[in-house]
Each structure stands twice: as structure tokens, then as C-alpha cells.
Amino acid sequence: MLSRTCLLARQSSKLPLYSLTNRFSSDVAEVKESKNPLSTGQTGAAVLGGSILATAVSKEMIVLDADVLAGSILFACTYGLGKKVGPMVIDGLDKYTKNIETTMSEGKKVQIAAYEAAIAEEKAAIESLKLAGDIFDIKRELVQIEIEAEYRRRIKTVHTEVKKRLDYQVELESTKKAFIRDHIVAWLEKEVIASISPEQEEANINQCIASLSLLAPSQ
């Protein structure tokens, strides 16, 4: 006789592994889907319908005549055709619906792509506008630099011109003074020379000779 532990081990080896959350529900009897139409709970509707039909036929509520035969055959044909042709028809209709959906999606996708492109363009335009601000600042600075340079160039020009004129005036004055000085010096020389008499000249020369004679023997 196997021990309880061994029996439990055997059972647990046969049982599938359940998750912890499913443990207790799996311990209760499993409800599996039964494919047998005659199993419990499957035949209720068929039995009810069959009983009603049998009662109606036996009580001659439904008289089994030619029309009933024709109607039953018609029903069977319709059912059979539905089984055979139905899937094809359903596939055709689903394909039709899918085509419409695809076409509309295509249109939608194209529009979305167009809108996304437009959004990207707008964003790029906004970015370029930001850069444009910097460019404007740079250009403004360049212009200001150019204006400053031009100003300084003009200032230099003015300075040069003024200096030229002033130098001219200075030159003019100095030239005038040089003329005057030269004239005065020449007049003075002339007057001095004119004021020297022959006797003074001779006396001066004799003096110079005497000085030279005194100097000569010392060497």
C-alpha cells in the first residue's frame, strides 16, 4: 500500500503545472468544451424542437403533404448552399470591405503624409526665421562697423586736409619769416659793410696780421 505522500507525488506528477493564481479553480472540476453533441447540456434545444415538431405532426397541426416535403427539401438546399457558397460570399464581401478600407486608408495616409510634410516645412521655416534674426543682428553689426569705419575714414580725411592747410600756413609763415630774415641780414651786412671806412678796414687788417704774427712764433 503506497503511502499518502507517494500517492500525492504520483498525482502531482500527472497534474499539469498551474499558476499560483489558478490553483484553486483548477482543483475544482474542469469544465471542458465537449465536442460530443449528445453530451449533457448539448441536446436540450434539439430535444425541445424535435418534441414540438413530433407533437405538431401527430396532432396534424403540420400535415405532411407534398408542400412540406418540398419545403423541407428547399430548406435543406438553402442550408447546404449556405454552407458551400456562404464562405465564398463572405470572403467576397470582406474583400470588398477591405478594399474600401484600404482605399480610404491610402487616401488618409497620403493626406497624413502631406500634412506631416507641411508641418516639417513650417517647422523648418520657423527655424530659419530664428536664424534670420541672428543674421539680421550680424548684418546690423556689420553695417554699424562699416558706418564707423566710414566715419573714421572721413575724420582722417578731414584731419589730413586740415593738417595740409595748416602746414601750408606754417610753411607760408616760415617762408615769409625766412625772406624777412634773409632780407634783414642782407641789409645789415650791406649796411655794416657800407659803414666800414677804408681806414678802419686797414686798421682791422693790420690788427689781424699782428695777431697772427704773435701766434706764429708760438707754434
Binding site: 408542400d67 464581401l93 470591405t97 480610404m104
Partner: protein
């Protein structure tokens, strides 16, 4: 005196079935009618059928759209652009006759399209209306119907009576074609099923075998009758559109 369309309506609607598209008042295009409760109910059926339509259709809606497209192609082919305004009429005609034909297959039910008198009255009224329309539009040129273009004038004494009879026999042939096909099919079905039922009820072995054979023979007949029901509706509608085009274009 009720017009044929109202009998049509009463019988068709008395089965309690809702047709897909029942602009029945458009089938009374030719008749002088006023809106009565049957037509109101039929119009209501159309409005009800059109409710809940989606952009991306369900299977049911897709089937309706396929039917709509089928009749639309038929009208475009036969009527052209100018006659396309008769498309609602053609759609109503096709769906109504198709519904009646298919419902006629059920046991214990008899629809107006099986009654030759009804179908002939309907076709006669149609042809009469077309003729009136043609005369109103083309006046004396309508007479060119009875002399085919390009035929030698010497054959006129022979051709004109033949063409006249051919023209007016359309009125009868259109209705008889529909009614006779359905009647014949229903009759074959009834004969075979009666034969089979009696054989099965005889209680003999031979009777049982015969009954089974008859039951087996019923299967292709049923399938054929289903096909005939739809095809006859299509043929009626197609011929009506062709006659409409003839009335408009004069050949």
C-alpha cells in the same frame, strides 16, 4: 379599381417580409396613383433599410451596395447617361420582383409574380407608359419604330405589320415570361414533391425507394428554381431598361 401596383404591394407586404429596397411608389411611375398606406409602409421599409449605413460597410451593407452597383451597371449599360434617372425605378423593380420570386419558392405562399394575370398587367402598364412617353417626346417620329432604319421601302407593307405586332407583343411577352417561368417551376416542384410524398406514404418498399429518388430529384429542381427566381427578376429588369432606352432613343 386598384391598380396592379397596389395589388402587388398588398400581396407582397401581407407576407410580413421587408424587402431590401421597396421604393414601390417608383414602380407606380407609370400608374396614376396617390400615396396610400401600403406605399407608405414600403417607403418606410426603404428608409429603415438605409438606416445605420456606415462609411466602411458591414457585410450586410456590402451586400446591399453590391446589389446597388449591379443594377447601376445594368442601367448605365442600357440606359446611358440621359436615361440614368430611371435607375431608382429599375432598382425597385429588380429588388421587388426578386424578393417576390424568391419568397414564392416557400410552401403555402403565392406571390403576385407567379400570377400571370398580375405580371402581364404589370408589363402591359409598363409598355403602355413607355409608349405614351415615347409619343410625348418624339411625336410623329414614334412611327419610325415600325420601320427599321436602312430597310428597303418596298418591304414596308410586310415589315410594318410585323414590327407593330412585335412592338405590342412586348407587353405580353414580358409579363408572360416572368409568370410562366415561375409557374412552370412551381408546377414541376409540386408534381415531383406530390409524387414523392405519395410514394413515401404508400408504405411499400418500392414506394419508399421511389420516394427517396423523387426527394433526391427535388434537390436540383430546388436549386434551379432559386436560380430562375433571381435570373427572371434580372431579365425583367434588363428588358425594361432596354425598352426604356428604345423609347428614349428610338432605336
Amino acid at each position: 379599381m386598384l391598380s396592379c401596383s397596389r395589388i402587388f404591394l398588398r400581396q407582397g407586404l401581407s407576407t410580413g417580409a421587408r424587402s431590401l429596397a421597396a421604393p414601390i411608389q417608383l414602380t407606380s411611375y407609370i400608374h396614376t396613383t396617390h400615396v396610400n398606406k401600403d406605399e407608405t409602409v414600403a417607403s418606410g421599409a426603404l428608409i429603415e433599410a438605409a438606416k445605420g449605413m456606415r462609411v466602411i460597410p458591414t457585410r450586410g451593407q456590402a451586400a446591399k451596395e453590391k446589389l446597388y452597383g449591379f443594377v447601376q451597371d445594368l442601367c448605365k449599360q442600357n440606359l446611358g447617361e440621359e436615361g440614368y434617372r430611371y435607375f431608382p425605378f429599375a432598382l425597385g423593380l429588380f429588388t421587388t420582383i426578386g424578393f417576390c420570386n424568391v419568397t414564392n419558392l416557400l410552401p403555402y405562399i403565392e406571390m403576385p409574380t407567379q400570377i400571370i394575370g398580375c405580371t402581364v398587367a404589370m408589363s402591359t402598364t409598363l409598355i403602355a407608359g413607355l409608349t405614351i412617353k415615347c409619343i410625348a417626346k418624339h411625336k410623329l417620329d414614334f412611327a419610325s419604330f415600325f420601320f427599321p432604319p436602312g430597310a428597303p421601302i418596298g418591304l414596308a407593307p410586310l415589315l410594318v405589320p410585323v414590327e407593330t405586332i412585335s412592338f405590342f407583343s412586348r407587353a405580353v411577352s414580358l409579363g408572360v415570361r416572368l409568370g410562366a417561368n415561375l409557374t412552370a417551376g412551381h408546377m414541376i416542384l409540386h408534381i415531383i414533391s406530390d409524387f414523392g410524398a405519395q410514394m413515401l406514404a404508400s408504405g411499400t418498399v418500392g414506394g419508399g425507394i421511389g420516394g427517396v429518388l423523387c426527394t433526391a430529384a427535388l434537390v436540383p429542381v430546388c436549386i434551379l428554381e432559386m436560380a430562375v427566381a433571381v435570373v427572371q427578376a434580372y431579365v425583367f429588369c434588363m428588358l425594361t431598361t432596354m425598352y426604356l432606352n428604345d423609347a428614349h432613343e428610338l432605336h
